[in-house]
């Protein structure tokens, strides 16, 4: 009951902020789209006419979309926390009886609708401008995308926690944000890459969108692996976050930026 109130409030706030900063949203969208076009032109110059052109392009589109997903959820935790701390609201959020993690988790869920919307728009724009149409089987895709987002959220909590403790780590946050590209495009046949957060799930998404596989046709071991990694990184993230939070409360640095 109480949680529902919190969720509603977070949805409402996200919506208000989207409307208030709509031009930022549009600007973000335009930037992402232009970057994609540049990637696409580069790719076409290299690969046009080869056998792999269609699959490669599909992978490029999917990889780009997944990167946007991953980056947004990651930023929604780490950068948001930075802003909340800088704007001094962090301590007030900590004084919610729901606890900061739940407050943040609900904001993420509220923001997810927005993220899906953004990713969908970009995907449409990409498919329209490249003429490469991909399999949009939502029944297969939604669970897989969630399996991608959950471990990345765990990663976000790890860096968010470190940030509470060691304030000036923005440059590391940025580096990790670009490393996410690697995480979502890494091939799984290297073996160790399946242990990266979200890499297995990204692979499965490609199987669905590019190879047009239905979710039940995916190897269950891979699915299980994606699930295990999701749970593992989420729990790791929350544990590290709690630890950092505790340390920050001892050193009195929770709200200091």
């Amino acid at each position: 009951m109480g949680s529902l109130i919190l969720l509603q409030a977070q949805v409402k706030k996200e919506f208000i902020l989207l409307r208030r900063y709509f031009f930022n949203f549009l600007g973000g969208f335009a930037t992402l789209y232009v970057v994609f076009l540049l990637l696409f032109l580069g790719y076409r110059g290299l690969a046009a006419g080869t056998d792999m052109y269609g699959t490669g392009l599909g992978n490029l589109i999917v990889g780009y979309m997944l990167w946007i997903f991953a980056m947004t959820i990651y930023q929604d935790i780490s950068y948001h926390l930075f802003n909340e701390a800088r704007e001094g609201i962090l301590e007030q959020l900590y004084m919610s009886p729901f606890g900061y993690i739940r407050v943040t988790a609900f904001r993420l869920i509220a923001g997810l609708v927005l993220n899906f919307g953004m990713a969908f728009l970009i995907l449409m724009a990409m498919m329209l401008s490249t003429g490469r149409y991909l399999n949009l089987d939502l029944i297969s895709l939604v669970p897989l995308i969630i399996l991608l987002l959950v471990p990345i959220a765990g990663l976000g909590f790890i860096l968010g926690g470190l940030q509470i403790l060691y304030k000036r780590i923005q440059s590391i946050l940025q580096i990790v944000q670009f490393l996410l590209v690697g995480v979502v495009v890494a091939p799984i046949n290297l073996g160790w890459t399946v242990f990266l957060p979200g890499t297995m799930a990204s692979h499965l998404v490609r199987q669905v969108m590019v190879e047009e596989a239905f979710i039940t046709a995916l190897p269950w071991t891979q699915f299980l692996m994606a699930l295990v990694m999701a749970v593992f990184y989420l729990l790791l993230g929350l544990a590290i976050f709690k630890l950092c939070e505790r340390r920050a409360m001892i050193s009195g640095r929770l709200g200091q930026f």
Binding site: K13, I16, E87, G88
Partner: protein
């Protein structure tokens, strides 16, 4: 008796690279339901640390705080349902949200659906004169307005305990007055309990019947303001002289503890004395007798809370010099 805030034996040392900062040492106090208590102390005394420990934002090294019987550390969620806090500075609200949106959002954050608190929101907005700013983002409000909004946000749901860290710091007289009145209403009409830190002695004088004074992390006084004033009034004298003092006399008097010589062009020479014991009065009289300096009058001094405060925190210092502290009064 209805004790609602119970702090037992709180100590806090901040870990720092070079030295360790002892912010609080074995601090204990109780606040009864419906009390309005001022927590005073010079800069760095440990007030904010105490506030944050009560709000569960800083972990004490030892000791515990209970709010309405719930332990702030072990029963965090329950305690947080019993209290709201406005922390130091102007950052207790969401800057990109409007006044109304902030109130709605924070009600939910405390677990109340906005529609249930609409009446309360309207009341707070009109009481704090925020009507014209309802749809203005917090970012564009003046400092005073932001502080009023922060207070409104803390009061939007009905919690029994309100903690405020320097609520009137940097505000103009009018805003400070509105906040002061709001706090009085909250205590006397809604029977809430308020603990506030401040350097503003006028605020304390106007609304806090009781003060706790801390200095260097320790409670030095916990008493009703009227008692403190009475106590210090009885011990404050002003000796007015008709003639002048010799430099030798001046030198000797300046050695007497708590005696201050004033050489005023209009009022002539007078000596202010805060008496620890009657001894210093007799010593001064002896010094004056040497030259047969005529005494015009000896009066008991009117004393204000600010002087009492300086006396109390000054007395704890080894060299007897009061610590400088920022007064916003």
């Amino acid at each position: 008796m209805g004790i609602i805030i119970q702090a037992r034996n709180i100590s806090k040392t901040y870990p720092k690279k070079k030295e360790r900062v002892r912010a609080l040492q074995e601090v204990s106090f109780q606040v009864k339901k419906g009390e309005l208590v001022g927590l005073l102390g010079p800069n760095g005394a440990g007030k904010t640390t105490m506030v944050k420990i009560i709000a569960g934002l800083v972990a004490p090294d030892q000791g515990e705080v209970e709010i309405a019987g719930y332990n702030t550390w072990k029963e965090r969620g329950r305690t947080l349902r019993k209290l709201s806090a406005v922390l130091e500075g102007n950052r207790n609200i969401y800057w990109p949200l409007t006044v109304k949106e902030n109130l709605n959002f924070f009600a939910s954050l405390k677990g109340q659906p906005p529609r249930k608190v609409q009446q309360r929101i309207d009341y707070l907005i009109s009481k704090l004169n925020l009507e014209k700013k309802v749809n203005v983002t917090a970012r564009s409000l003046s400092r005073g307005m932001q502080q009023k909004l922060a207070l409104a946000v803390a009061l939007v749901v009905d919690v029994p305990v309100l903690i405020l860290d320097e609520p009137t710091l940097g505000l103009d007289v009018e805003s400070a007055l509105e906040i002061r009145e709001m706090l009085q209403d909250v205590v006397y009409q809604e029977n809430k309990t308020v603990l506030l830190t401040t350097h503003d002695m006028r605020l304390v004088r106007a609304i806090c019947p009781r003060v706790i004074i801390i200095n260097q992390g320790q409670i030095v006084t916990d008493d009703r303001v009227e008692n403190l004033l009475r106590l210090f009034e009885a011990k404050s004298y002003r000796l007015k002289l008709t003639g002048h003092l010799t430099s030798k006399q001046e030198e000797m008097i300046s050695l007497v503890e708590n005696a201050i010589i004033h050489n005023d062009r209009h009022n002539g020479v007078y000596i202010d004395l805060h008496l620890e014991s009657m001894d210093s009065l007799y010593i001064i009289l002896d010094i004056l007798r040497e030259n047969n300096s005529p005494i015009e009058s000896i009066e008991r001094q009117e004393i204000d809370l600010e002087q009492v405060f300086l006396e109390i925190v000054g007395r704890r210092r080894k060299n007897g010099q009061p610590d400088s502290f920022a007064s916003t009064g």
